[in-house]
Each structure stands twice: as C-alpha cells, then as structure tokens.
C-alpha cells in the first residue's frame, strides 16, 4: 500500500469521526473526568508517603496525566473487523488491491489522529497547566518518547487486529473483547504504572505486550525511566512489534481460508 492510499483511507475515517460532534464533547468530558479522578487518587495516596514505584507525588500526577492522554490519543474502533465479518461486508474490502492489514491500520490511524488532535493533545496541555505538572522535556527524551509512542500504538493496533480476527472462527467475539479490556486496563499502564506491581509479577508481565502500550511511552515521555532503562524498554517494545507483526501475518493466513461470507 502506498502513502497516497494509506492517506486516503486515514482521511476518510478522520472525516467520519468529525461528524460525531456529540460523541466528541462527551468524550472530552470523559477524558477530563478520568484525569481528575486519577490525579486526586494518586495525590491522596502519595500524601501518606511518597516513593512507591520510584514516583514522587508530583511524578505520579505527571504519569497519570500523560498515560491518560496517551490512552485517549490511542482511541481505536476495535469492533470493525468483527462487524465486517458478521454482516459479510468484509467481501467488499477484499475485492480491493490493498492489504487487509494495512487498510485496517490506515483507517485506525485516521480515527486515532482525530482523537489525538481533538482530545489527547488539548487535554494534555490543559492538564499540565491546571495541575502545574513539571515534565522535563529534553530533545532526546522527547525523541525516544515519540518513537516509543509509535511502537506502543502499533502494538495496540495489532492486539486489536488479532482479537478482531477471532471473528473468523467465532462470530460472537464480545467475551474476548471483554477479556482484552480487562488485561489492557490492568496491565497496560494507563491506570496503574507497572512499577507498582509486586516484583513477583514482573516476569509474568514481561511475557505479555501490554505494558509496552501505555506504560513505556508514558514513562519515557515524563522522564521517569532513566536513559539506560529507556533504551532497554524501547528494545523490548521493538521486539514486541516484531512478534505481533509476525503473529498478525500468520493469523491472517489462517483466518482467510476460514472465512464465511454471511448473507450471501
């Protein structure tokens, strides 16, 4: 898929998101609500005694805001594949000379681009001033953080893609989506930074990609991860991008021969 086609698909889903204005305002409110709740919670907890997970009270507030802003920016419609399989409209995607994976990614990118520009970035900027958060922006840290954001985004996209492909086997994918949300909320780092998990859980976390979705980019962007640690985390992230990319390819090859077009 060339850039023009990718851009076209992205632009179409970006435009589509603009049309839902009520949804947008509700989502902005929702985003702020989450940030208020979590910053208040962390401040109260850290007022008792700072230091857990290597965070100061100000540090954990910065983390909560950054992680939530990333989560908002990474908004994706993870139901599209299942819906397309369920109603058979996947047939019209497959008659196009474009890769199914790339087409989904382009559409997803357009969707997320809207939520990044319209919600993620404004909420981040507003919250930084509102909570007087001090984020040490360095050129190196920001560059590594942006790289980590891109990889985190790819991991989340591929996670949704793989869960979406389950629909080729089982039409009712909602229970699997629930399981995914549970794991993502618990282990992804958007609610609880990974540092706060007991040491005994760390090897288990390393076997899963979730922490590299929100935790890794947030920790690098707010300067919580030391430069050496940041490089290790980026390497792990890159490995996960590779693993999930390979899984997406294998899973798609298995899925396409399983496809049944519903409704003729």
């Amino acid at each position: 898929m060339n850039l023009a086609v990718f851009g076209k698909f992205a632009a179409v889903s970006f435009q589509k998101e603009i049309t839902y204005r009520f949804d947008y305002f509700m989502a902005v409110l929702n985003g702020f609500l989450y940030i208020f709740v979590f910053t208040a919670l962390w401040r109260a907890l850290y007022a008792q005694g700072a230091g857990a997970g290597g965070f100061s009270a100000a540090g954990i507030t910065a983390y909560a805001i950054m992680a939530m802003a990333i989560r908002i920016s990474f908004s994706m419609d993870d139901t599209t594949i299942a819906i397309k399989v369920r109603d058979g409209s996947i047939a019209t995607d497959l008659i196009r000379p474009v890769s199914f994976f790339m087409m989904n990614m382009a559409q997803c990118a357009g969707f997320s681009a809207f939520h990044t520009l319209a919600r993620g970035v404004p909420i981040l900027i507003f919250s930084i001033f509102l909570f007087k958060v001090d984020i040490p922006f360095t050129a190196r840290g920001t560059a590594l953080g942006l790289l980590s954001l891109v990889m985190g985004y790819l991991i989340l996209f591929m996670l949704n893609y793989l869960f979406g492909l389950i629909a080729f086997w089982i039409i009712e994918v909602f229970p699997f989506q629930l399981m995914k949300y549970g794991l993502l909320n618990l282990l992804g780092g958007s609610v609880i930074p990974v540092d706060l998990f007991p040491a005994s859980m760390k090897p288990f976390l390393a076997l899963l990609p979730f922490q590299h979705i929100f935790y890794t980019p947030a920790a690098i962007l707010i300067g919580h991860a030391t430069p050496e640690r940041a490089l290790v985390m980026l390497t792990e992230q890159a490995a996960w991008v590779g693993i999930m990319g390979a899984a997406s390819l294998l899973f798609w090859n298995a899925a396409k021969s399983r496809l049944v077009i519903q409704g003729g």
Partner: protein, 347 residues
C-alpha cells in the same frame, strides 16, 4: 463439457470444491470458550466439483437456485474465499493466492451489498477508488464521463450513498466496479429488486460494455430476461455442481418440438395432471403453464381434450422460454408429484 485443459481461458475453474465448517457456538462467555474446543461442527458443501473455462469477451450467465453455489464460486474467483479443493485462475492469476494482483484486473458488483462509502457523497467514493487503483487523472475523467453518460449518473454524484434509491445505488455500484477499466467483470445479482426500466438501463449498458470494450462478463441472476437478453452462454449450477454448460441458443433448441401452453382457467383447479399429453410445469392461481413434449401434430388434439374437460377462459401457445427450459433441467431429477414442485416453481 466445454472445458478443455490447457486452452487459453480468461477465467478457469478446475474441479473447484468449497466446504464450509460451521462451528455451532454456544451462548455467553462460557459457550464461546467451549466453542473453541468443541467438536460440534456442521459441514456445508457449497461447491462440490465445478469446472469451466471462459474466454476473453464472453458474456456468461451463471445461474442456479439459492444455495446452488453461484456466489461461492464468484467469491473464489474474486479472491475473497479460498477453495477447499481444485484450482481457479483469472487472467492466469490464482485469485486467492494473489488476491491483490487479481483485483487490479477485475471489477466486482455484489447486488446485495454496496461497495461505496455509505456516508460519503458518490463523487467521494469514486475519488477514493481512483486513488486505490492508481488511475491517472486523465483516464479517470474520461472513464467517469463515459460512465456518467452510460449509466445516467447525472445529479447523483453529490448525493450521499445512503440517500440513493436501490436503482440509483446499483448504477453507481456498477460504475464503481469499472473505474479502473477491468478486463473481467463479475456481477453477482446486479438487477435484484430493480424495476423494469432500471433493469433495462443496466442491461443496455452491459451489452455495450461487452460488445465495444470486449469486457468478459460473468453474471449471476434469477432474472431470466437478463439471461435471454445478455448472456450468449449459460452455465447452470445445481447443488454445487454444473448441470449444464452451453450457448443459450443451443439450450432453446434442446426441445425443438416442445410447446408451452399458457392457460387461464375460469376457476382454480384441484387435480393434476389434466391431460396425459400435457405436463404441468408452473401454476399461479388460475393460470397454469403446460408443456406439450411430443410432436406438434398431437398438440391440437391435446388442447381440444383440455378445453372439453376443464373451464378454459383463455389459452396461448408459445415456444419454451429459457426459464422454462432451465426449470425442466432442474426438475429432471425431481419429478412432479402432484402440486408440490409446481407450487415451488410459482415464486
């Protein structure tokens, strides 16, 4: 039949088989998880052993009853479905192995669903397709001018797709399948649900596309007028197998002495058969179609017998239509016990 291995075909199907395994999934999370490990499966044989070869420039009707495997074959040839067995090639490309290469050369229309972008104006959908298929601006404008004229798209371009009527949408869908000038066009029930005028517009456009451009067209339909007016060749499918393949004209010659008698009775009749020489093939209320399968010398006598025994209001004698011939091919295996198949045929 008409398929010979090794000849230069634009579309070829060799012993195509498609078997679906349908998992019977239970309810809720537990049911869904169980379904992962369960062995409760239902096997559906959609296409059992289909072979044919179609040359460049042919206009082929691909017909069969619902569930005969028409759409499944089309979806294999367009690369959407992977066959369980056999080989398919379109322009020498195996569609399900090189789906993207194949889709550059083909146009596809599914009458039952649109390929346009539902919320966008029609013009936007065409623009997206132009980018996807990498059509140059000049080629695109020339093709659009032609499609707009040929399919009467004036005034539709600025409308959102969801506001189009079925007939308007279908014309736009056909135009959308041709933006990249494919050499092969697959039409899966393109006239379904359309009124006579809309069907006629589409037919004359397709006739021109096939005649002037030499586009190979494969058409599935339930409308026998589509077949009679457009398709020079007919492939008939039944229960996943090809049961007939040949020129549409030849099919008509298959029963040269057959005559179809359309009878309007005064009242609905209760018993069948009426007269031994006349085979009932279709019934709609007081109207009935009967076939006289013998030499035409006995025809007058049989009609006389019918008129003397039953209250005939009106009667006409015709050559068998393609629809009736196709029906008789289907029903060769299933004879006509009483009313049952006649009722089925009357839909």
């Amino acid at each position: 039949m008409r398929y010979h291995l090794g000849m230069a075909y634009t579309i070829e199907a060799q012993n195509l088989v498609k078997t679906f395994t349908v998992n019977e999934s239970g309810k809720g999370l537990l049911g869904a998880v169980k379904a992962l490990f369960s062995t409760k499966k239902r096997i559906v044989h959609a296409v059992e052993n289909v072979s044919f070869g179609i040359r460049q420039g042919e206009f082929v009707g691909y017909v069969g009853e619902n569930g005969a495997g028409k759409s499944t074959t089309i979806k294999i040839l367009t690369g959407i479905l992977v066959p369980t067995g056999g080989v398919a090639r379109v322009n020498g490309v195996v569609p399900y192995e090189n789906r993207r290469d194949n889709s550059k050369n083909i146009g596809v229309v599914f009458g039952q669903r649109t390929q346009l972008w539902w919320d966008l104006p029609v013009r936007e959908s065409f623009e997206i397709l132009r980018v996807i298929y990498r059509v140059s601006k000049g080629d695109f404008d020339a093709m659009m001018a032609r499609l707009t004229k040929g399919l009467g798209l004036d005034g539709l371009m600025e409308m959102p797709v969801r506001k189009l009527s079925l007939g308007q949408r279908m014309r736009c869908d056909i135009a959308a399948s041709l933006v990249h000038r494919p050499t092969v066009l697959f039409l899966d029930e393109p006239t379904i649900g359309l009124d006579v005028l809309a069907k006629e517009n589409i037919r004359s456009f397709l006739r021109e596309l096939n005649g002037k451009d030499g586009t190979t067209i494969i058409l599935t339909t339930h409308d026998m007028n589509d077949i009679e007016q457009l398709c020079k060749r007919l492939i008939i499918l039944d229960k996943g197998r090809v049961i007939h393949d040949g020129p549409t004209e030849e099919l008509k010659k298959r029963f040269p002495h057959d005559k179809i008698i359309e009878v309007d009775f005064e009242s609905e009749l209760a018993s069948l058969p009426l007269v031994p020489e006349l085979e009932p093939i279709r019934r709609e209320g007081k109207k009935m179609w009967l076939r006289h399968a013998h030499d035409s010398s006995g025809l007058a006598l049989a009609i006389g017998k019918l008129a003397s025994l039953y209250p005939v209001k009106d009667l006409s004698v015709r050559e068998p239509s393609v629809e009736i011939i196709i029906r008789s091919i289907y029903e060769k295996t299933a004879a006509l016990p009483g009313y049952a198949p006649v009722e089925k045929a009357a839909k």
